[in-house]
Amino acid sequence: MKKIISILARNRPGVLSHVAGLVTRRGYNVESIAAGPTENHAITRITLVVTGDAKVLEQVTKQFRKLVDIIKVDIVPHSLALTGELALVTVSAPPEKRSEILNLVGVLGVKIKNVGEDSLTLFISGSARSVDAAVKALYPFEIKSMARTGLVALPLEKGEEEED
């Protein structure tokens, strides 16, 4: 089971070390972890995508809550959060493949970040699922390098609902 855990934490030096350390120490499986500021400079939001059964997830959240700097921990269902991710992907693009890739770029709605002699770097953004789909569509071309930010999520206020 893959779940999003959204954490609000005191923005203190070391808070990310405490969170990341806990994950490895307790042997949890984390797919991504992304951290950044919130509307309040004193508070950091950390989004994790974790896998595990219900029991593991309950333990994970309890252990996070126990950290002194952690203000709030939520397991957020995909349907109750706005999610997004960014990826930069450099694909090999020799002249004979270039038009095929550019075609795909149009279909996928991704941006071209850099045009190299025989490569293209694409900038992909969207929900986790659409980024996954775009990356997958690029597999047939040689992916030379890739960087993904990991998922960030913003839990919705009550009443709002997102179709993902």
């Binding site: 005191r10 030096p13 070391g14 309890k62 252990q63 809550r65 126990k66 002194v68 700097d69 203000i71």
Partner: protein, 570 residues
């Protein structure tokens, strides 16, 4: 209530300006800290300079591990936060075992370490070690003070976090330039950490569910842990148990919270616990954990623990509830508050059949000390300590066979009178912890039961005992081997005693004498009683090296991961 620790404290017009080091000392004094344990070095010279004529008692250990275990023993005995100081690099890394030990057993400690100046951090300077990073997983919280203006707020937070809620060790790493910077000193602001709620109020519905289960139960057991000691819940537990005929088993850390000689007491459960204790849990229909971790050494095979019982768990740390065992009745909150509510909700009810069963189980399965065949039985020496001390002494153990015999045979009657490294099982804990205990409560006799292995892990602290003339009564259960490991090798590895026999050991009585501690060695079973009595009754420190049967085993034993009644028959 947001408070940014980085904001410089508004100095009141008449605030004194002190160096960071002086401010630390002044803060400690103002907070009522009167005893410190530590060891100096280059990066804490300013701090030691401030201590020089401060009037605070500083105990100079002979190794930082000795200092931190002593602070731990001091904290466990007194209930106050223990404080230890070490220098950067090797001084700080020598604290690691002591931090992990205190973390596992939820002991309130504040460790103050020196660090290289902020300007040098990260450059592999002389005696630089990232103790902040190293200590993350083994502290409740930790700090690296980068800005002198934060120092006092951080200290206040550190003491608050260490001692509140589920206690634990907190490390404060103070670079040398922070120690020498000038800062205004004023009483620290009230600590408020919005993200930290140390003792949430118990939920009424949860307590009601527990009360209902307890009222319905025919064979209830309280399984008491260290949380009962921290929250000083002994009186409530005693009252509730007596009013409702609840049997009581105690974890190693809770020993003495419920008097061992009480008819409803079933002592220590688990791997080396009493047979009657495990059998009673096996028959019980309701096991109520009270501030306890359901440790694997107690529970064994989770599927076979308390098979007939519903399990309730009261704990201040919600993350403990359901961690190992699935729990039918979770109650999160401060144990003392929960017990007070329970006392109101649970109507007193006699359970004569269960009470009789408890008494009968104890009669049927007593601890039997085998008769000596030549050599002294280690159990006999430990029982002699129990008889002479009569529940009045603080008994401190090291780790190994002697520790389990002490847990089985020492009759403790009060909390904070039995100290042992439970969660981490740290050899070398005993001697320094006993030092700390003598300083916590100078009126109470302190007896250390150690093995010959563990005794040599912090043997240097004999000098500390002599220097401060601390009345630690040392009893060494000297079997010439790493007894507990040897026992496992005997049972599970065909007696292949790989690296567990000491072909050479020094004469511990002679060592004691060299350190100026009256010491004696005995080998004759007939001498035990009188020698133990003389040791405990002679004022000042003393050492008794007891040569015991080398191949004695701790029984009963439930092998690791086995079920509650899978007693190992040799």
């Amino acid at each position: 209530m947001k408070r940014s620790p980085s904001a410089a404290k508004p100095a009141s017009p008449n605030a004194a300006t002190l160096s960071g080091a002086e401010a630390i000392v002044r803060f400690l004094k103002d907070s009522g800290v009167d005893t410190l344990f530590g060891y100096p070095g280059g990066q804490v010279i300013p701090l030691y300079d401030a201590l020089y004529d401060s009037g605070i008692k500083h105990i100079l250990a002979r190794h930082e591990q000795g200092a931190i275990h002593a602070a731990d023993g001091y904290a466990r005995t007194s209930g106050r936060t223990g404080v230890v100081i070490a220098t950067s690099g090797p001084g700080a890394t020598n604290l690691v075992t002591g931090l992990a030990n205190a973390h596992m057993d939820s002991v309130p400690l504040v460790a103050i370490t020196g660090q290289v100046p902020t300007t040098s951090i990260g450059s592999d300077s002389f005696q630089e070690a990232d103790i902040y990073g190293i200590s993350i997983p083994i502290t409740k919280y930790n700090y690296l003070v980068k800005n002198p203006a934060d120092l006092l707020d951080i200290l206040a937070e550190a003491f608050y976090i260490a001692s509140s809620g589920r206690p634990g060790p907190v490390l404060v790493d103070v670079p040398k330039d922070v120690q020498t910077a000038q800062i205004p000193y004023g009483p620290p602001a009230e600590v408020s950490i919005p993200s930290y709620n140390p003792s949430p109020q118990p939920h009424k519905e949860e307590v009601e569910a527990l009360a209902a289960a307890l009222s319905r139960s025919l064979r209830p057991i309280f399984y008491v842990g260290g949380g009962a000691v921290t929250t000083e819940s002994a009186p409530e537990i005693l009252r509730l148990a007596e009013e409702s005929d609840v049997a009581v088993v105690s974890s190693l850390l809770a020993k003495g919270t419920f008097p061992d000689d009480h008819p409803l007491s079933l002592g220590l459960p688990g791997m080396h616990g009493a047979k009657y204790s495990n059998l009673a849990i096996n028959e019980s229909d309701l096991v109520v954990g009270l501030g306890v971790r359901f440790d694997d050494r107690v529970v064994g095979d989770v599927r076979r623990f308390a098979p007939l019982a519903r399990v309730a768990h009261v704990d201040i740390d919600p993350a403990e509830i359901g961690k190992r065992l699935s729990v039918d009745i979770p109650v999160s909150g401060d144990l003392k508050l929960v017990l007070k509510l329970l006392l109101k909700l649970v109507k007193a009810k006699k359970r004569p059949a269960w009470r009789e069963r408890v008494v009968k189980l104890k009669e049927e399965h007593p601890f039997v000390i085998p008769a000596a065949k030549g050599a002294i039985k280690p159990q006999a020496a430990i029982r002699a300590i129990s008889e002479v001390a009569n529940g009045e002494a603080v008994v401190v153990t090291d780790v190994g066979q002697h520790q389990m015999w002490a847990a089985q045979l020492i009759a403790a009657k009060k909390p904070r009178r039995f100290l042992s490294s439970g969660g981490l099982g740290t050899m070398g804990y005993g001697l320094p912890a006993a030092i700390g205990a003598t300083l916590a409560d100078p009126g109470v006799p302190v007896v250390l039961v150690s093995g010959d292995g563990g005794f040599q892990m912090n043997i240097q602290e004999l000098a500390t005992i002599r220097q401060y003339d601390l009345p630690v009564k040392i009893v060494i259960s000297n079997n010439g081997c790493l007894g507990m490991v040897r026992q496992w090798q005997e049972f599970f590895f065909q007696k292949r005693y790989s690296q567990t026999i000491f072909p050479y050991n020094p004469n511990f009585a002679e060592i004691g004498q060299v350190y100026g501690i009256p010491s004696r060695r005995i080998a004759d079973p007939g001498e035990v009683q009188a020698a133990v009595r003389a040791l405990l009754e002679t004022p000042g420190p003393g050492l008794l090296d007891v040569l015991v049967e080398p191949e004695e085993n701790v029984l009963p034993m439930i092998p690791a991961g086995k079920g509650q009644t899978d007693f190992f028959e040799n």
